[in-house]
């Protein structure tokens, strides 16, 4: 699992570079996300614009990361292509995560809070 990271103030912007977030990479992804949280990141934007397939393992890893924060912090999603967005809706995860089309929209949303 390749994840590109950059910072915007206290916001961590993590972009998944792989095209699949599925069982193959779910464990790596889960570890990476838990690393971000244990490093003290509480405002994370996950850019999944390069991901064109996500399965229940990938989505489960995302839920785990949010739970790790224990209500102290937020994970925003951006750039979800249509098929991926459909899976968010299917699981109703779109009602838990804030989802933006563009990365800068997500950054802006967090910056003003």
């Amino acid at each position: 699992m390749e994840i590109e990271q950059r910072r915007e103030g206290d916001i961590l912007v993590a972009k998944i570079l792989n095209d699949r977030l599925d069982a193959r990479g779910a464990d790596d992804f889960r570890k990476a996300m838990s690393g971000f949280v244990s490093d003290g990141n509480r405002r994370i934007i996950l850019d999944i614009s390069a991901v064109d397939f996500v399965d229940s393992s990938g989505l489960g890893a995302l839920v785990s990361a949010l739970k790790l924060m224990g209500g102290d912090g937020d994970i925003l999603i951006c750039g979800a292509p249509d098929p991926v967005m459909r899976m968010f809706k299917l699981t109703r995860m779109n009602k838990v995560f804030r989802i933006f089309e563009e990365q800068q929209d997500a950054v802006r949303a967090l910056s003003v809070e």
Binding site: D22, A23, R24, S56, G60, L66, K89, R92, K95, V96
Partner: protein
């Protein structure tokens, strides 16, 4: 002859070129190497080219008008063979025949190379197939949605009188009519768990996680309407595995388990369950039902949202009909899709769901009403179960408001049946979630209201209606009985092909000597053809001069093939013991499959064959009677039997057959019905007139009375009626199973010791007398011909065109787009 397109030389040459092209480039063979099956495929592909042209034009027409579409969801489509039907409907039958004949190929041989698409058990699946033909003929935008089973209903072999089931591989992968639509494949999640995490407003938000994925790949079968102007399609989904399914295990290093998982997910569309053999709680069947529903809903949403921005017009543009409760999960899937994936609130989602769905009930047998254990549903579809509970909660609030303090009624009506293991009642879910609930014959629809679900009828009388079944006269008369079709067309023109009401004009010829003669000659010619098939398949030689008495349908106790056999045994004993000749020599023809796990039904087949063995070998009687059990009943075999039948046996226990459609096909081909007042027999009686049908036996109310303490005692019939005693004793003595005298004791026991649930003995004497009356009348050839002609003339009502027009007007609000 039917007016086919003129077989001009150029058209014939073009068709031949197309056939040769496909022999070479689709089968990869030279003309010399090509087998008959290669030629069949080449002809089918040549026909398909024409179908595709019209299919694309039809699609453009529907899109241009933003037409409302009907989606007919059915776990079964009993299509039979397609080639002949497509040629007739395209109007190129003669052209194709000429083209092939020119190439030295016999059209009949080509047509016989086609394997039946047997993706159904019986009436319900064949009804769906007839409906598709009518929808296309009427220019209505309607599609069938089903499963592309790799194995259809089993192939039946009769081995020493016993049914053996063999797999039916209907060439689903290389079938020339199927067009794979990989680009429209959809993802279907299944299994998993619900996890609760608050949404952004802090409210509880159940999330469906941990699912596995199936991929649904559509395959389209073009359905051409008569006249070739409209081509709709039947969309059949195959289950494929996704990478995700196996990769997780693959990564763990277990290659074989990964492959097994792949096979397991593809199992979902592997095989059609024979009815009566779906064990309660059979998980794969539940997954199959959901797979169909999920694929259909995704496909319907994709098409609708391709043309519309919002869901506001959904119910104005989409109608979905549930063929029985098998696709009942559509109720929950639509609500889930609207709420979870499109953010509608409950009320909006519910209103659209109800306005979109219609439900057709097909059975009055309480034990045949589908239920699923709650724990299984929770395991397979956790989110759907939540939604079903919510639907039930809201529904029961309405029931309680209407009937306060009526706990019994609430329990009766609940979608969830209480008990050691709670069950989801799929019929209740279908009724609650649909704006229309229909039965399939007038009597059946009344019984649905008064006996099956009276509480629901009291709550929503406006939902309930009747749509008497029908059959397409294109397959069941035009194609299967070409000689009679020719005579009809020559006499009254060809308007009857698309307007079955025109058959009434034949009434004027019912007493015409010349017409009667031709009619009887045609029947005899059809019987001669059937006699050849009987000889080929059973080695029984039958005489076409005898009365052909036909009972062809699924083998089930309620359909009472056994009553037919009791009568045959009675006649046989009458002949050999009393030396009384039959009024008319008879050939008894049976065909039908028994569910593999249905012991008594299989034993009844065995009894028919054993009785046949004894009679057919007994030189004292076999000029008077023969019995043939034709193996592997299927659409193409029915097309041979129906035109040759003189007498049509429709003798189910009153109140148990929802409609029947075999009764319609046979009457339409000039067979006289001998039957009980059950299902659509009641309406056949109304149409043809009581002098042209043989009705006998207990009525629904008699049965009800006798069941409810009326004191039905089969022993009394046995002791008081010497005919019955003689027949039952013969079976019990081992007369028809000398090697194993006790073989048929379970049949005797079911009648005498276990109360004769289907009232064979109560109906025996009236049946015998009515049979005798039919035999007497058969001897008067002119009288019989008159009755048979009037049956053809007066069964126009039973065209599926009439049924579909009623559905379109009264349930679907569907307009033709010609």
């Amino acid at each position: 002859m039917t007016k086919n397109a003129k077989t001009s030389k150029t058209a014939v040459t073009d068709f031949q070129k197309s056939i040769l092209y496909h022999v070479k480039y689709s089968s990869g063979k030279s003309r010399d190497q090509a087998s008959m099956r290669d030629y069949y495929k080449a002809v089918a592909l040549a026909v398909r080219e024409r179908l595709v042209d019209v299919m694309l034009a039809t699609k453009a027409r529907y899109e241009g008008e933003d037409a409302k579409r009907l989606y007919y969801l059915s776990m079964e489509f009993l299509m039979g063979r397609a080639l002949g039907n497509n040629l007739y409907n395209l109007g190129i039958f003669d052209l194709a025949k000429d083209a092939l004949s020119d190439m030295g190929i016999d059209m009949e041989e080509i047509r016989n190379s086609e394997v039946d698409a047997a993706l159904g058990n019986g009436g319900l699946g064949r009804l769906a197939a007839c409906f598709l033909d009518s929808l296309a003929t009427l220019g209505l935008p309607g599609y069938g949605y089903g499963i592309n089973y790799e194995f259809g209903i089993f192939r039946q072999e009769i081995d020493n009188g016993h049914q053996k089931e063999r797999p039916d591989h209907w060439y689903s992968e290389e079938n020339p009519w199927l067009m794979e639509r990989l680009e429209e494949a959809c993802i279907v999640p299944v299994y998993g768990r619900i996890e609760h995490l608050p949404d952004r407003s802090g409210n509880d938000n159940p999330m469906w996680l941990g699912w596995n994925i199936l991929i649904g790949v559509p395959h389209d079968v073009p359905i051409v309407g008569f006249g070739g102007k409209t081509v709709n399609y039947l969309r059949l989904f195959s289950a494929r595995s996704s990478d995700e399914f196996d990769m997780r295990i693959f990564n763990e290093g277990d290659y074989f388990k990964a492959v097994q998982q792949k096979i397991s997910s593809e199992t979902v569309s592997k095989v059609l369950y024979p009815c009566d053999s779906v064990e309660p709680g059979k998980e794969l069947r539940l997954v199959q039902e959901y797979f169909l529903v999920a694929c259909a809903v995704r496909d319907i949403m994709r098409r609708y949202l391709g043309d519309h921005e919002t869901l506001d017009a959904f119910a104005d543009k989409v109608a979905i009909q549930l063929n029985d409760t098998h696709p009942a999960l559509t109720v929950a899937e639509l609500v889930r899709t609207f709420i979870d994936e499109h953010d509608l609130d409950w009320e909006e989602a519910w209103q659209i769901t109800e306005a979109t769905l219609g439900y057709t009930n097909h059975t009055l047998l309480p034990e045949a009403l589908e239920t699923w254990p709650v724990p299984l549903l929770e395991h397979v579809l956790p989110r759907h179960l939540q939604i079903i509970y919510e639907i039930n909660h809201r529904f029961l609030k309405k029931v309680s408001a209407r009937w306060p303090n009526d706990g019994d009624r609430v329990r009766r009506m609940s979608i969830i049946e209480e008990g050691d293991t709670k069950q989801v009642r799929m019929a209740h879910l279908s009724i609650v979630g649909s704006h229309s609930v229909n039965g399939v014959a007038a009597l059946h629809s009344e019984l649905v209201k008064t006996s099956l679900v009276p509480d629901f009828y009291q709550l929503w009388p406006e939902k309930f209606n009747n749509k008497t079944n029908g059959v397409t006269q294109r397959r069941w008369l035009l194609k299967s009985n070409p000689l009679l079709s020719e005579l009809i067309t020559e006499t009254i023109g060809d308007g009857w092909i698309i307007d079955s009401g025109k058959l009434r004009q034949l009434e004027a010829y019912a007493d015409d000597d010349a017409f009667q003669k031709r009619f009887l000659d045609i029947k005899k010619a059809n019987k001669e053809k059937l006699a050849e098939v009987i000889l080929d398949t059973t080695r029984v030689q039958v005489d076409p001069e005898t009365l052909f008495d036909v009972q062809i349908k699924r083998i089930h106790e309620y359909k009472r093939q056994l009553l037919g056999v009791l009568h045959i045994i009675y006649q046989y004993l009458h002949l050999v013991n009393d030396h009384v000749e039959l009024t008319v020599p008879k050939t008894y023809v049976f065909a039908g499959k028994a569910a593999p796990g249905y012991f008594l039904a299989k034993l009844i087949i065995n009894l028919i064959c054993s009785v046949g063995d004894v009679i057919n070998k007994d030189r004292r009687v076999n000029r008077q009677m023969k019995v043939a059990f034709m193996p592997d009943y299927r659409v193409s075999l029915a097309e041979r039997i129906v035109p040759a039948a003189d007498l049509s046996q429709q003798i189910s226990t009153a109140g148990m057959e929802a409609s029947g459609t075999g009764n319609m096909k046979l009457a339409m081909n000039g067979a006289l019905t001998i039957g009980t007042l059950d299902g659509a027999n009641v309406e056949i009686l109304e149409e043809v007139g009581e002098e042209n049908i043989y009705i006998f036996g207990l009525k629904v109310e008699d049965i009800r009375h006798m069941r409810n303490g009326g004191g039905y005692d089969p022993w009394a019939y046995y002791n008081e009626n010497p005919n019955i005693k003689r027949v039952m004793d013969a079976i019990g003595s081992g007369m028809f199973s000398p090697q194993n005298p006790g073989l048929f004791h379970p049949i005797c026991d079911s009648i005498l010791r276990h109360g004769d649930y289907y009232f064979h003995l109560a109906d025996f004497q009236p049946y015998l007398e009515t049979q005798e009356k039919a035999s007497r009348e058969y001897r008067d050839r002119s009288l019989w011909a008159r009755k048979a002609i009037l049956n053809v003339a007066r069964t126009g009502k039973f065209s599926s065109d009439r049924t579909i027009l009623e559905y379109a007007r009264e349930i679907w609000n569907l307009q033709p787009v010609p």
